[in-house]
């Protein structure tokens, strides 16, 4: 029985020949919420893109697996089919492709086995309702001319419809107002309470702890300069709130000295 979980082992990654991730060890178990926090430039998004298979990220060493399956040998679509979902900080626009068409195509690609059109429609409308999204959204082109909040809602809508095994949320809270953050939180929690969502393991990447007020983390990791320097419980997020990353950086340096 292979290890369950989204697992990185000594993962080292370069972008344009510059080493960004310097040996990441991380295990996100099914049904659990891991927060990955860190200052800008610490490598959080690099980890997200590497796991999802962005061609611009060069893996120097280590491994990344999903329930034992080697992710690093797979193209992005196969990783999605294996059960990985990435919510983008800056989702790309696809002009001319309607949200409805995109959702249907993605769902058929990831989970081709089920859902007649009527059931798919019901699923989409239920999820729209949870996210306080207007059904008119479906007729718009994917992320084309969307506000920041609309883009993040669409990411959450896709996650709910694809119901992955593991979801990496890259700065999903950035640029959101209180209302949008609340509906994003509500959508994640609704998914976690649903049958198909209860076993999803989350890696919530964030700069600020505020999304964790809506989606409580079981485990918090702090990443600085391409390394996870500290791992703890939810109280670690409170510590960041109190002393900031600079304070933590000093604390870590002091502990090493």
């Amino acid at each position: 029985m292979p290890t369950r979980g989204l697992v990185a082992r000594d993962l080292r990654v370069a972008v344009e020949n510059k080493e960004i991730l310097k040996g990441i060890d991380l295990t996100v178990e099914p049904g659990r919420v891991h927060a990955l926090m860190g200052p800008n430039g610490s490598g959080k998004s690099t980890l997200a893109f590497t796991l999802a298979g962005h061609p611009g990220y060069q893996v120097l060493g280590g491994s990344a697996t999903l329930d034992g399956e080697d992710l690093l040998v797979l193209p992005p679509d196969k990783r999605a089919k294996a059960g990985l979902f990435l919510s983008f900080q800056y989702p790309a626009a696809i002009p001319g492709v309607s949200v409805a068409n995109f959702l249907r195509t993605a769902r058929m690609a990831v989970r081709p086995e089920d859902l007649n059109p009527a059931k798919f429609r019901k699923l989409v409308f239920d999820k729209l309702d949870t996210l306080d999204m207007d059904p008119a959204f479906l007729g718009r082109y994917v992320n084309d001319g969307f506000s920041g909040g609309e883009k993040k809602r669409l990411e959450m809508l896709q996650m709910a419809i694809l119901a992955p095994k593991y979801a990496v949320l890259d700065e999903t809270d950035s640029g959101l107002d209180i209302d949008a953050l609340q509906s994003v939180g509500k959508s994640i929690n609704a998914l976690r309470e649903s049958d198909e969502g209860k076993d999803i393991g989350f890696l919530v990447i964030t700069h600020y702890p505020r999304i964790l007020e809506h989606v409580p983390a079981d485990v918090v990791h702090i990443m600085i300069d391409g390394r996870i320097v500290k791992t703890g419980g939810p109280e670690l997020a409170d510590e960041i709130n109190r002393i900031g990353y600079d304070g933590l950086r000093e604390e870590v340096a002091a502990a090493r000295a």
């Binding site: 298979g53 679509d77 492709v97």
Partner: protein
């Protein structure tokens, strides 16, 4: 030519010379279709053809085609009509499209005509009794025919005028608003033909109609045609061209429309087939309240070459125009788009928008974009925007993370690229037809994502 009996048919070897024109004139006399005015006009047009320089005198140096060196070898010029009985049910495989099949032509449309090469197929159609849809002869459409397309200024329009051998006349009287389209179908005959269609569309005051001009078939024709449309006061014309001629076809059209007070002319153009395609698409806004919308696309695969020029002439104000062009090329496809907007001194208060975007899908594909705005009036709004680019890698990756494989994402993004044009075509059936045709072109492309 189809087998069986033919009616009043004539055929001769075609060259663009006065010797051929003499033979044409003799044939027309024999058929009882010649008139002194017509003959004089044809001779003048041939003289213009000979005198005018080839268009695109300074083509891109990578262009394979040179209009000055077109070959007219082994082309046949024919005139007349064929009886229904001699018409094969499906003269070309693309006609198995139910929209194109003759029974559909007769039942789902307000009217239509079917041409096999230059031969009019003498098929009865249940034309809406309020409208006229007839094979064109010289007696129709005085004041419109030869008056809207400036054939004296364009080499191939002059050629088409000199050797006209088929055509259609569509008249929708004052106040008649049609719910179903009028279809004009040009199917390629099996032998190589020189086809010179001339289409005249006249909409009366407050009339409303959709005319669909189709080119289908697998032959190897040379087609040079003219379309002239007039939209009377308050009229609305949707004129659609779906060009799916065979892959060796050379198709050249000059199309122009004139909009009177408060009239709207909407061009919808999908250039999908042919080896060498040249299209000129003009709109003249001659009275206040006139509006022109131009929506055009081409997608060049293999060795296809499409050369599209659109023009909107704001003669008076306030008039409005909106031009949207999307072009893509892959394999060794080549294209050029020239977009002209002219706002004349009297066109105060006019509003013109021109937007063209090109997508290159392979490293050997090439598209030129040449926009030109000429504004001579004050107090006008004019917008122009153009892009040429390749596929958005961020979008491909994004779709990939949703489980959509690169090849499928590429198809989705490419089809989406055309959507701003396709979505302006009238009717969901027509839009789906164009989408399907674009999708098939992606199947045919050999060098995509390269």
């Amino acid at each position: 030519m189809p087998s069986g009996t033919t009616e009043t048919a004539a055929a001769l070897d075609f060259t663009p010379t006065s010797a051929t024109l003499d033979e044409v004139v003799a044939f027309l006399d024999e058929l009882g279709q010649g008139s002194p005015n017509d003959v004089a006009l044809r001779r003048e047009a041939l003289a213009r053809y000979e005198a005018l320089p080839a268009p695109g005198a300074r083509p891109h140096r990578g262009w394979r085609y040179d209009y000055a060196n077109l070959s007219f070898d082994e082309l046949r010029w024919t005139s007349g009509s064929v009886a229904t009985a001699t018409m094969p049910a499906r003269p070309a495989h693309r006609l198995d499209d139910p929209d194109v099949d003759r029974p559909a032509l007769a039942t789902e449309n307000a009217g239509g005509l079917f041409f096999f090469g230059s031969m009019h197929v003498d098929a009865p159609g249940n034309v809406d009794p309020r409208v006229t849809v007839l094979p064109l002869d010289g007696s129709h459409a005085a004041g419109v025919m030869h008056e809207i397309v400036d054939w004296r200024a364009d080499k191939f329009a002059a050629l088409a005028t000199a050797f006209r051998n088929c055509g259609a006349f569509v008249h929708v009287p004052d106040g008649v608003q049609l719910d179903t389209p009028i279809q004009l179908v040009f199917a390629t005959a099996p032998d190589d033909q020189a086809v010179f269609p001339h289409i005249v569309v006249v909409l009366g005051k407050n009339a409303r109609a959709t005319v669909i001009e189709r080119h289908v078939g697998d032959g190897d024709p040379f087609v040079a045609g003219i379309v002239e449309a007039q939209a009377g006061e308050g009229a609305q014309l949707d004129y659609v061209v779906v060009q799916q001629a065979g892959e060796a076809a050379r198709v050249m059209f000059s199309r122009a429309a004139r909009a009177e007070r408060d009239a709207q002319v909407r061009w919808h153009l999908a250039e999908l087939g042919g080896a060498l395609v040249r299209t000129v698409l003009d709109a003249r806004l001659e009275a206040p309240g006139g509006r022109a919308e131009t929506s055009a696309l081409f997608f060049n695969t293999g060795l296809q070459h499409v050369d599209l020029t659109s023009g909107v002439d704001h003669l008076v104000g306030p008039t409005t125009s909106d031009t949207v062009v999307r072009s893509a090329a892959t394999d060794r496809g080549q294209g050029r788009y020239v977009g002209n907007i002219v706002i004349r001194p009297k066109a105060h208060g006019s509003d013109a928008s021109l937007r063209d975007d090109a997508l290159l899908l392979s490293k050997h594909a090439h598209i030129d974009s040449v926009p030109a705005l000429e504004i001579a009036a004050n107090d006008v709004k004019a917008f122009h925007g153009a892009t040429i680019g390749s596929l958005d890698e961020d979008a491909l990756f994004y779709a990939g993370t949703r489980g959509i494989a690169r090849s499928a994402a590429l198809r989705m993004i490419t089809l989406g690229f055309f959507e701003p044009v396709v979505s302006r075509f009238p009717g969901e059936a027509l839009r789906d037809e164009v989408r399907t045709a674009l999708d098939r072109k992606l199947d045919d492309a050999t060098e995509i994502d390269g």
